[in-house]
Symmetry: C2
C-alpha cells in the first residue's frame, strides 16, 4: 500500500524524511563496460559501432545503412495514422510558439567609462539527440528535445535511435521529421553516444548530446561530458498533486496514475487537507487500476513509491512541496495562483482542476523534460538556452583603458600576478 | 621552445591537431579518497570536518570556530591597503552593473487557445562558494563568483576557504564582504564540499556549489552533483591572441604571459599574418621573462604549451579560432568587430589593441569564470542564470482543455499510456 501520512502524527517528520530520501533508482554500475565501448568506438569508428549493433540490437548493418534514408522516413510517415500525425503537428506548433519566447537578448553597449561591453548568444553548431528504442520510444519526447534546438537555431541536429532487430516506431520518425531533425542513425546504447561524441567516418561529431536513455546511455553521457556538453541525467519521473476536497477523486486518481504508469520507479504523491477525499482518491486509484493497460507498472509504482499526506491546511502543504521540489506539481485547488506564488521549488506547475499533467506532457507548449529527484531546487526544464552559448565582449580604447587600467593593475599586483599588471601598464605608457 | 607553426607547412594539419588535443591536465585519480571523506562528513558532520581540517590544514578547530566571526572579517578588512579596497569596490560595482543586464524575463500570458502559459525565474535558495587557499586565493575570483549570485537574488551565500595553519588572505575576506557573502567558514578540500552538500550541525546545506579548487575539490564536486548543483569543472586557463603586424610586440608578449603565469598547464597561443611580428613577439616574451616575478611558471607554460601560428591572412585565422574554441580571445587587429562577427566559439572576446585580457580578469564587468578546454563550443561563462531556476506554468479551464484535450489523448493512446489519456478524458466528460 502507498504510504498514508498525516502531519498531525507524532512520527510524521521521520516518515516524511524517509519518503524524501528513499532511493528509487537501482544504480547498476556499468561504468567499466561503458568505458570499454567508448574506447572501442573512438578507436575503430563505424566498425565498432556496427559490431555492437549486431551484438546488442541483433541488427547487421553496413556503413551506408547506418543512416536512415529519406525514403524510409517518408514511407514510415505515410504509414502513420493521419489523426496522430495531425496531433503531433499541433503539438509541435504549440511547443515551438512557447519556446520562441525564450530566445535570449544579445546586448552591446558603451558604458559611462567609455568601455564597450556586450554579450552575444549563438546557437550550438551541432547537437545529438538520443532517442530510446522499444517501449520508451516516445514521439512526444522527440518533439520536446528537438524543437528547442531548432528554435535556438542549431543548424545540425543528429538523432540516434536503436532499432532492435530492425524495429522502429514510425511515429518517432514522423516526430523527427516534423521537428526538423537533420540526420537519423539506427544505432543506440553507449556506442551511439560514443559515435556522436567522437565522430566516425559516417557520423560527424556533435558539440552536445541530449535525450533520455537507459543506464548504459546515462553512464556514457557522464563519461563523454567535457568532450561534449550533455543535458541533465534524468531520474525516475514524479508528480505531486495538491488537491482540496472539492475535486473529483477519479480525476486526481487518474493524474497520480499517469505518472505511475511510466515506470515502477516513478513516484506519485497526493497532499490534501481533506481526509475523506484522500481515502476516496486511494479507492479511485484501485478502481482505475482494474482497467488500465499498464496497471502492472502503475500499480507497482503506486504501492512502492506512492504516498498520500493529510495536512491541517493548504499553507502547511507549501513547505512540504518545497522540500519535495517536485518535477511536476498540480495545484487542484480553488485559488491555484495564490498557492503557486508561495511555492519556491518545482519544475512545472499545473494550475487548477482542469489541467492534468498529461496536457503538459503532450501539447500545452512548455517542455516536458524537467528536473527530477529534487533537482528543481537548482535546475530548470530543457529550454532554448540549453542549445545556445554566450560570448562576452569587452573593448577599450586608449582613453577608457586609461580610466580603468590603473585599478586593474593594482588588483593584479595585489594578487601577485605581475604579467597581468604588465599587460595593462605597457599600454598606459608606464 | 613554444611550437612555431605555419599554415603553409605541409605538416600543419597534423601539428595543429596535436596542439588541439594535447592533454595539459595531469589527471590524478583521487575519486576513492574523496568518496571516503564525503561519506565521513555525511555521517559525522562537524566532527569529521574538524578532523580533516586538523590533518590537512594543520589547524585545530572547535565547532564554534568553524565560522569566521564578523570581528575577524572587520579586522582583516581594516588591515588591507585602502587603495586595493577601493579598486575592489570599483570592480564590484562594474561587475554588478554588467550582470544586472542578465536578469531574465518572467512571462505569463494566455494564448489564443485560451491556455494560460508562463515561465517564472526564481533565485536559488542557498549557494556555496568554494575559494581555494594559498597561492590561488584570488579576491577577484570571490567577486566574480559571488556577485552574480547576489544579483540573482540568492538569499544565502556561504563561502568556504581553507586556512592552512590559520593563514588567510585579508583581501579574500574583504572581497567577500564587498560582494555580500553571508557566511564564511575556514574549511576547505573535499570535506568542505561535503559540508556544503550534506550540511553539518554548524553549516546548513546549500543547493549549489560553485568556485574553483584543486583535484580533490573537483572530484568532490563531481561526486555530490545531483545532491546539489555544481558549476563547470574548470581546466587550465587559455588565451588565444589574433594580432596583425601593427601591434607593439611587447604588449602582445605581456598578454600571452598573463595567461601563462597562472599555471604551468596554462596555454597561450598567438596567431598572426606577419612572420616578422611573430618572431618579435617570441623575442619580447623572452625579454619579459627576465623580470617577471612568476617567470618560472610562465616560462614553463610558454615553452611546453605555448604556440605561434603564422597564417596567410586573418580570414584563415577564423577557422583556427573556432577549432580552438578559446576561453579568452584577443583580437588585436585594425577592425576587431569584423573579425569577431566571423568567430563562432569563444568564451570572451577582447576587442582591439587596447583591451588586454587582464582588464576583463579584474574590472571590465563581464565574468572571468569562462569555459575552458574547448567547451566554449557548448557552454558559457558564469552568469546570473546559473544562480536561478525556471518553473513553467500551465493552466487550462474547461473550455481550453476541451480544445486541446482530445489531441493530447490521441497522442497518449499512440504512446500506449492509458492513464495519461484517462486523466484528460475524465475531464472532458467522456
Amino acid at each position: 500500500m502507498p504510504r498514508d501520512l498525516r502531519t498531525t502524527d507524532a512520527g510524521f517528520e521521520a516518515d516524511f524524511d524517509r519518503l524524501l530520501h528513499a532511493k528509487r533508482e537501482s544504480q547498476s554500475d556499468v561504468a567499466d563496460a561503458v568505458a570499454e565501448v567508448l574506447r572501442d568506438v573512438r578507436l575503430h569508428g563505424d566498425e565498432a559501432l556496427i559490431k555492437y549493433t549486431s551484438r546488442w540490437d541483433q541488427l547487421d548493418l553496413t556503413p551506408d545503412r547506418l543512416r536512415i534514408a529519406e525514403c524510409e522516413i517518408e514511407a514510415a510517415v505515410a504509414a502513420c495514422d493521419p489523426e496522430v500525425i495531425e496531433a503531433l503537428k499541433v503539438a509541435a506548433t504549440r511547443i515551438e510558439a512557447f519556446h520562441r519566447r525564450q530566445t535570449p537578448d544579445t546586448y552591446d553597449y558603451v558604458d559611462d567609462a567609455g568601455v564597450r561591453l556586450g554579450a552575444r548568444w549563438t546557437p550550438l553548431s551541432a547537437v545529438g539527440l538520443y532517442v530510446p528504442g522499444g517501449l520508451a520510444s516516445y514521439p512526444s519526447s522527440v518533439l520536446m528535445n528537438a524543437i528547442p534546438a531548432k528554435v535556438a537555431g542549431v543548424p545540425r541536429l543528429a538523432m540516434v535511435v536503436p532499432t532492435p532487430e530492425g524495429a522502429l516506431s514510425p511515429l518517432v520518425l514522423a516526430a523527427a521529421r516534423i521537428a526538423g531533425v537533420d540526420e537519423i542513425y539506427r544505432v543506440g546504447g553507449a556506442q551511439a553516444v560514443a559515435a556522436l561524441a567522437y565522430g566516425t567516418a559516417t557520423i560527424r561529431p556533435v558539440d552536445k548530446i541530449v535525450g533520455p536513455g537507459n543506464a548504459y546511455v546515462a553512464a556514457a553521457k557522464r563519461q563523454v561530458f567535457g568532450t561534449v556538453g550533455i543535458d541533465m541525467i534524468a531520474g525516475p519521473s514524479e508528480i505531486l498533486v495538491v488537491a482540496d476536497g472539492a475535486n473529483d477523486p477519479s480525476w486526481i486518481a487518474a493524474d497520480l496514475l499517469s505518472q505511475a504508469e511510466h515506470d515502477s520507479s516513478a513516484q506519485s504523491i497526493l497532499i490534501s487537507d481533506d481526509a475523506a477525499f484522500i481515502q476516496a482518491v486511494r479507492a479511485a486509484v484501485d478502481t482505475h487500476l482494474k482497467t488500465l493497460p499498464r496497471a502492472v507498472i502503475a500499480g507497482a509504482s503506486w504501492r512502492n513509491n506512492g504516498a498520500t499526506i493529510l495536512v491541517r491546511d493548504l499553507d502547511e502543504a507549501v513547505a512540504l512541496v518545497d522540500r519535495l521540489a517536485p518535477e511536476h506539481l498540480e495545484l487542484a485547488v480553488a485559488d491555484p495562483d495564490a498557492l503557486a506564488a508561495k511555492v519556491t521549488h518545482a519544475g512545472a506547475i499545473f494550475l487548477g482542476r482542469y489541467t492534468p499533467e498529461a496536457i503538459g506532457d503532450y501539447i500545452a507548449g512548455p517542455n516536458h523534460v524537467l528536473p527530477t529527484a529534487r533537482s528543481a531546487r537548482f535546475s530548470s526544464g530543457l529550454n532554448v538556452l540549453d542549445f545556445m552559448k554566450r560570448t562576452t565582449l569587452v573593448g577599450c580604447d586608449a582613453a577608457s583603458l586609461g580610466r580603468l587600467g590603473p585599478q586593474a593593475a593594482i588588483l593584479a599586483d595585489a594578487e601577485g600576478l605581475g604579467a597581468h599588471a604588465l599587460s595593462v601598464r605597457v599600454r598606459l605608457g608606464g
